[in-house]
């Protein structure tokens, strides 16, 4: 069985990151956008762990752990903001959220 090299993992992380970016660009509801951002966090984490394995150094694992913690905090805050948005309207489209204008 041939081994999967580091380049393949980097390519997969690139594809996953851009898929998350496409989700942010294409979808309209804030929930979808938040989940797409999660996919992008995870693509970055995959890179950290890939290169930790590449160099045999566990610093990458610690960094990925910190990223997961920050992502969890970000989700908590983001979902709180989304709950606030949904209290105002039935349907939320990110293009209609203009509270910060003026």
């Amino acid at each position: 069985m041939p081994a999967a090299s580091t380049e393949l993992y980097v390519a997969l992380a690139a594809i996953l990151f851009t898929l998350g970016g496409i989700g942010v660009l294409v979808r309209r509801s804030p929930l979808s956008i938040l989940m797409s951002v999660e996919i992008m966090w995870n693509a970055a984490n995959l890179l950290f762990i890939t290169f930790a394995r590449q160099w045999g150094n566990m610093d990458g694992h610690v960094m990925a752990f910190l990223v997961i913690t920050v992502a969890a905090a970000e989700v908590a805050i983001g979902l709180a903001i989304i709950v606030l948005l949904f209290r105002k309207k039935e349907h939320v489209d990110v293009d209609d959220v203009t509270e910060l204008k003026n």
């Binding site: 069985m1 041939p2 081994a3 999967a4 090299s5 580091t6 380049e7 393949l8 993992y9 390519a11 997969l12 690139a14 594809i15 996953l16 990151f17 851009t18 898929l19 998350g20 496409i22 989700g23 660009l25 979808r27 309209r28 929930l31 979808s32 989940m35 797409s36 999660e38 996919i39 995870n42 984490n45 762990i49 890939t50 394995r53 590449q54 045999g56 566990m58 610093d59 694992h61 610690v62 990925a64 752990f65 910190l66 997961i68 913690t69 920050v70 992502a71 969890a72 905090a73 970000e74 908590a76 805050i77 979902l79 709180a80 989304i82 709950v83 606030l84 209290r87 039935e90 349907h91």
Partner: protein, 168 residues
């Protein structure tokens, strides 16, 4: 680093990400995202990151996505799809797919065709285990570890301030 495991888990992760973009119901989106996270956990295992794979499943597929499910059931249970129209054929969506697709193609080909990586380092059996990770986290990286506690506390206080004041 088994190529077969990489291929299957990578395809599962990509399928999950595509499902997130294409699904109409929020619950289906959450399930697709969980699929993506499980594929990534398998990839972490193939990179000898045992502890990170477990954390990925417990924290992401478990806690974070359950939080999403709670919000979805709380807010959108009675309604039809949250988005009025997903706009899959709108010019903006087509532009998003075109830009994202070209960036993905560019990055992926650069990663594969570019400079070949150095030889993969030799690791011993303890690499990626809970013991090694804990040793790394609590001896070398104590300050970042303390900072995560601070970040989580700020997040909790922020959520309480944002959502918990409707009766004030």
């Amino acid at each position: 680093m088994n190529f077969f495991v990489y291929l299957v888990a990578g395809l599962i992760a990509i399928a999950g990400a595509l499902g997130l973009i294409l699904a109409k119901q929020p619950v289906h989106q959450v399930l697709a995202t969980v699929l993506n996270f499980l594929g990534l956990a398998v990839l972490y295992l193939s990179l000898s990151g045992e502890f990170m794979a477990v954390i990925q499943m417990i924290v992401y597929s478990g806690a974070v996505m359950i939080l999403f499910l709670f919000v979805i059931t709380l807010l959108t249970a009675r309604k039809d799809p949250v988005e009025k129209e997903t706009g899959a054929r709108s010019p903006q969506a087509i532009a998003g797919w075109a830009i994202g697709g070209s960036i993905a193609l560019m990055l992926a080909t650069t990663a594969i065709v570019g400079r070949p990586a150095a030889a993969v380092a030799k690791i011993d059996d303890s690499f990626g285990t809970v013991k090694a990770f804990g040793h790394e986290l609590l001896t070398v990286h104590v300050l970042p570890f303390e900072l995560t506690a601070f970040v989580l506390m700020v997040a909790v206080i922020g959520v309480i301030i944002l959502v918990g004041r409707q009766k004030a």
